[in-house]
Amino acid sequence: MALVGNIRDFGLSDFLYLVDRGYKTGGLHLTHEQEMALLFFEKGKLVMAVRRPEDQHGDLLVRLGIISTDQLDQARQHLVAQGNDANLTQVIVDTQLAGKDQLQSALQGFTEESVYGLFGWPEGEFRFEQNQRPAADAPIIPTPISVDHLIMEGVRRIDEWGRIKDRIPSTDMIVRFLEQPGEKVKGVKLAPEEWRIFARINGKDTLAEIAQKTGLSDFDVCRIVYGFLTAGLVEVQKKPKPGLNRGPQADTPRVKKSLVNRIINRIKGM
């Protein structure tokens, strides 16, 4: 079943997070005015991204200067001979028409740039076809890319308060690390400015206080923290209001188990 929506309402970075954490496999089809994009994921990692229909096939490798037309024809013949489970880039590596590193470098660069451009789309319909896979002769990246740093880079390109405020409505919120960010941190490369913020996160300071301590603007701090948030490294919470005893159970009546059991039995019997 397809997941459909608009990136105006459910942002691309949010969708990448869903694909990553949900270990999704499938094809994400995006359209915006006359533009299109097609991204394929395998167990939450990106294996291909193109912005033009003609780039979905092996000819892209010729255009990128990785192999010649003759070599492509040769690889396609091998591909047909090998049958259903083979893919073009694996055949190219196996037959030594190009090195794996060379393929990885060229295709990863192409793919990343294809995705980064999408973060500039203000809106666009998306459709995620679960378990859809690229064609056998598609320019698949030999080693799939983790989407974490794509999210971070995409968020770096966000320059509007609106989207940030959806997740960070006020600079009076505190930032804290998620309980187990360890593995995720490894996949993310931070810019020096981002490290400055990262190092200040202590679960106590508000965003405004972090801005004050680092000398960065509120907007920059929120934008950077929005990136951490989107990548699933941190969470933001409202700062408890001083003087208000709003600890756990505040505003929530302490009820007797016997009372809850009576309601449960009644609902069960309905």
């Binding site: 397809a2 997941l3 459910f10 949900g22 188990k257 449960i264 009644r266 609902i267 069960k268």
Partner: protein, 176 residues
């Protein structure tokens, strides 16, 4: 007579009125007026005050169900409704990702300052293109311990199951 209260919240057209109607023993008291803002694009009549349903538990105990108004301009009602509530059901229209941000805003409002017992009901699971509960959990960034449950608000059994799941959460927190 003791009364206890549960709140049913969610974005416009998430299915709150339908949810309460499916389980209430009384005709649901609902102030429906013709929508005057963008909600009329979604449904002709939308809730502008609140829905109220009732289930008699015993002669001495009644459960009240309150549905919150969906539109932002009625936020002030949420505070009033949430006072003393036993638990909260957040309904999500699983077919409309454009409402997920608003759903997060509602969750944040109700649980931001309070340790509220709540479950998320992924409504309209009978429709094509409904996002699954697992996908909604990720989309709404809910932690693993929060229940995100499949729901069809027009189906009484489905609504019963949601309320029971919420009650089990409340039961775990209750005192002997």
């Amino acid at each position: 007579m003791q009364t206890v209260k549960m709140v049913i919240s969610g974005a416009v057209n998430a299915g709150k009125t339908e949810f309460i109607k499916a389980i209430s023993e009384i005709e649901v008291v609902s102030t429906e007026r013709r929508a005057t803002d963008d909600t009329k694009m979604i449904k002709k009549e939308t809730t502008v005050a609140m829905d109220f349903g009732r289930i008699a538990i015993a002669d001495d105990l009644v459960l009240h169900l309150f549905g919150t108004p969906g539109q932002k301009r009625f936020d002030f009602m949420w505070e009033i409704l949430s006072e003393g509530m036993l638990g909260l059901v957040i309904l999500v229209d699983s077919t409309r990702p454009e409402t997920f941000r608003e759903t997060n805003r509602i969750i944040d409002f109700f649980v931001g300052y309070r340790d509220t017992a709540y479950v998320i009901a992924a409504n309209k699971q009978d429709r094509p293109n409904a996002w699954s509960p697992d996908e909604l959990r990720l989309a709404l960034r809910q932690p693993p311990h929060i229940k995100v449950l499949p729901c069809v608000a027009s189906d009484r059994e489905s609504v019963k199951n949601i309320l029971l799941d919420l009650l089990y959460v409340i039961q775990e927190r209750s005192e002997d």
